[in-house]
């Protein structure tokens, strides 16, 4: 057993592997929404915990990059902390929690509230890249369906949903059509975030490690959520504002306060919330004269 057991290359992956992943990324950018098979490596974190996103980030990150990692919109969720610590360890890269300061943002389940800008890269962790998977479990079939642009099954599924529930009841991982060609899974982000993908200034990369697929939405690309004329796509709305920063029209988390049905709603994007509070915005919960008013 050698003593140099734990010496690794910059950003963990060897350069050959990075080159292989970059080739897949380039192909993905060239064919927006198309799932490019790649020889996903075993990473030192479990499959299903962001290995695809981590491989994409490892392949594109350089010493000058500034990395932000979020999970559920928050920088301080345990898996985000763990992935950020991984890149600090293997790439000694600068990290931030501020959306605007980051050059690469790796995310699970959310797109930041703040509009992304040119030059930024959003890396999504994807569990099941195939939007047609739950309609057809076989990869050999779904690849054929994409090749033939045979998306009737998906529309039938959405129609059946309306027939059963009076509405399209899909609330996250809501399928989109990219650049008028490929139907794509936006990863399990709430459909609230779908419009942010459309014509984004940032490059969006999607990595699915266990399923060995990479796909991409280049900047300024059309991303349309599937719908029907009489049942147009709608995003979630919240009746409340954020209890901490008073933000309206953002995605909120419900926090249970007691066992009497008490609950509050706060921003899911923690950086956005903190930034607003730093700028003097105050929500109901933090209002100074709250008790006096009661």
């Amino acid at each position: 057993m050698s003593a140099d057991l734990a010496t690794y290359n910059f950003a963990y992956l060897d350069e050959q592997t990075k080159r292989m992943i970059r080739r897949a990324i380039l192909k993905a950018i060239a064919i927006p929404g198309y799932q490019v098979p790649f020889a996903s490596r075993e990473m030192p974190m479990p499959y299903g915990w962001g290995t695809g996103g981590v491989q994409v980030t490892a392949a594109i990150i350089g010493p000058d990059d500034v990395l932000k990692v979020i999970d559920q919109g928050a920088d301080d969720t345990t898996n985000a902390v763990s992935i950020r610590a991984f890149f600090q360890k293997v790439a000694s890269v600068a990290v931030t929690t501020h959306t605007k300061d980051a050059t690469i943002i790796q995310t699970r389940h959310r797109i930041p509230e703040q509009k992304l800008t040119e030059g930024q890269v959003l890396v999504y962790q994807v569990p099941i890249p195939e939007p047609l998977r739950f309609l057809e479990p076989r990869e050999t079939e779904t690849r054929k369906m994409h090749a033939l642009e045979e998306y009737g099954l998906m529309h039938v599924k959405l129609y059946e949903d309306i027939a059963h529930n009076g509405r399209i009841s899909k609330t996250y991982a809501y399928p989109v059509k990219v650049d008028g060609r490929y139907v794509m899974d936006p990863s399990p982000t709430p459909k609230f975030d779908n419009p942010k993908m459309h014509m984004s200034d940032a490059l969006q990369l999607f990595g699915a490690g266990r399923e060995k697929r990479i796909y991409a939405v280049p900047p300024h690309t059309e991303v349309v959520s599937l719908d029907f004329e009489d049942h147009p796509f709608e995003i979630q709305t919240f009746e409340q504002d954020c209890a901490l920063c008073g933000a309206h029209g953002v995605y909120l988390d419900e926090v249970v306060l007691d066992d009497q049905g008490g609950r509050m709603f706060v921003c899911s994007d923690t950086d956005h919330c903190e930034d607003r509070r730093d700028h003097g915005h105050v929500g109901e919960m933090l209002a100074p004269n709250k008790e006096a008013a009661e």
Binding site: A85, T140, L244
Partner: protein
């Protein structure tokens, strides 16, 4: 007052410190050594090497210790290390006919050239807990016999002599064996990739699938032609030298399953093959692998595909325990953003139903 859940970093560090503490256990007891694990828990080490696809006893033993004996975790540790190693070439095919055999049994012949050798097996032990193992009693040296040095012929060669078994299949000379750890997985696969996937597949999953074929889900009438366990030489061609050079010896378990086949329009009735080859000593794995390998050849042999064990995409997509455990266990990661979306949807749908019911009652009241 709500406090945002901060301090994930400190929590993780503390959790890992506690893990290290539990791993070590009672400090008044001596710590396990890597050598002890490699020597005395050899079959656990073998399983880790086999499913991690990395033949290194001491690293596998280290992984077993580090994982507190959780073998899938140990396999994962060793795989994550393996993936960082450079690939400098492929060996020439190992010759299992030249194996230094420690165990060799055939269920199809009573006696055969080379004989039946039981070797170190649990077979025919009575599964009674052995109190002598509570202490460190001296163990007598086993009986040994001088190896004859002759190659022990394969049972499949006996049948092949008469043309009763299908040929082993020919590959073109320039065929480079695939490697699913380096190339993207695509279906349908070649048999080389399929066998690689099975060789590193989960023992329990393959055992269950193999068992299912015996119980009628894709039955393929198997006989154990031969199981052999022993050491083989690994050689590699060196272009500079023009001849293969030995890299060392590894222990392997090989199983050749012989299956009935009634023949088809292209092939006369003859026996067919299912093949299993595993690092170390693992008969259960090698036998399961050969049953599933044969089941997965259904399409090639023109058989009806009716059972899970015959379905390549199903079997290969789900045989990897590191992938499976990762994805199953990722369910414990936070999903509250999506759950929030579902909560809102369910509330809205319930409110709609409530509103409709209310309107109905009002109409009824008005009518009365």
């Amino acid at each position: 007052m709500y406090v945002a859940v901060k301090g994930g970093e400190a929590a993780i560090t503390n959790a890992h410190a506690l893990l290290a503490d539990r791993r070590r256990g009672d400090r008044s007891l001596p710590a396990l050594t890597i050598e002890q694990i490699a020597e005395q828990l050899g079959l656990a080490v073998d399983r880790v090497m086999a499913e991690a696809s990395l033949y290194d006893r001491s690293l596998a033993a280290l992984a077993v210790r580090q994982s507190r004996g959780d073998l899938i975790e140990a396999i994962f540790l060793l795989r994550a290390y393996r993936t960082t190693l450079p690939r400098f070439g492929s060996s020439v095919p190992v010759d299992t006919a030249a194996m230094k055999v420690e165990r060799r049994v055939s269920a199809t012949y009573k006696d055969l050239p080379g004989g039946q050798l039981l070797g170190p097996t649990f077979d025919y032990t009575h599964r009674l807990l052995d109190p002598s193992l509570l202490t460190d009693e001296a163990i007598a040296d086993p009986a040994r016999k001088e190896a004859s040095g002759d190659e022990i012929m394969r049972v499949s060669d006996i049948l092949a002599h008469e043309g009763l078994i299908e040929p082993d299949g020919d590959l073109p000379d320039d065929h480079a064996a695939g490697d699913l750890t380096r190339e993207p997985l695509e279906f349908p696969m070649g048999r080389d990739l399929r066998l690689q996937a099975l060789a590193r597949g989960d023992e329990g999953f393959l055992l269950a699938l193999g068992y299912s074929t015996q119980r009628g889900y894709g039955r393929n009438h198997p006989f154990v032609g031969e199981i052999r366990i022993g050491e083989v030489e690994v050689e590699m061609d060196m272009p500079e030298l023009g001849f293969p050079v030995s890299l060392g010896r590894i222990q392997l378990t090989e199983c050749q399953m012989i299956n009935q086949f009634k023949g088809s329009s292209i092939a006369p009735p003859q026996f067919t093959r299912g093949y299993g080859l595993v690092f170390g000593q693992s008969e259960r794995k090698a036998m399961s692998m050969s049953l599933v390998d044969r089941a997965l050849r259904a399409e090639e042999l023109g058989e009806d595909i009716t059972a899970p064990a015959q379905d390549e995409e199903f079997v290969i997509s789900h045989s990897d325990n590191v992938q499976a455990t990762g994805f199953v266990e990722h369910l414990k990661l936070p999903h509250y953003v999506d759950f929030q979306a579902e909560l809102a949807m369910v509330r809205k749908m319930r409110a709609d139903i409530e509103a409709t019911r209310h309107a109905d009652t009002e109409m009824k009241d008005a009518a009365e």
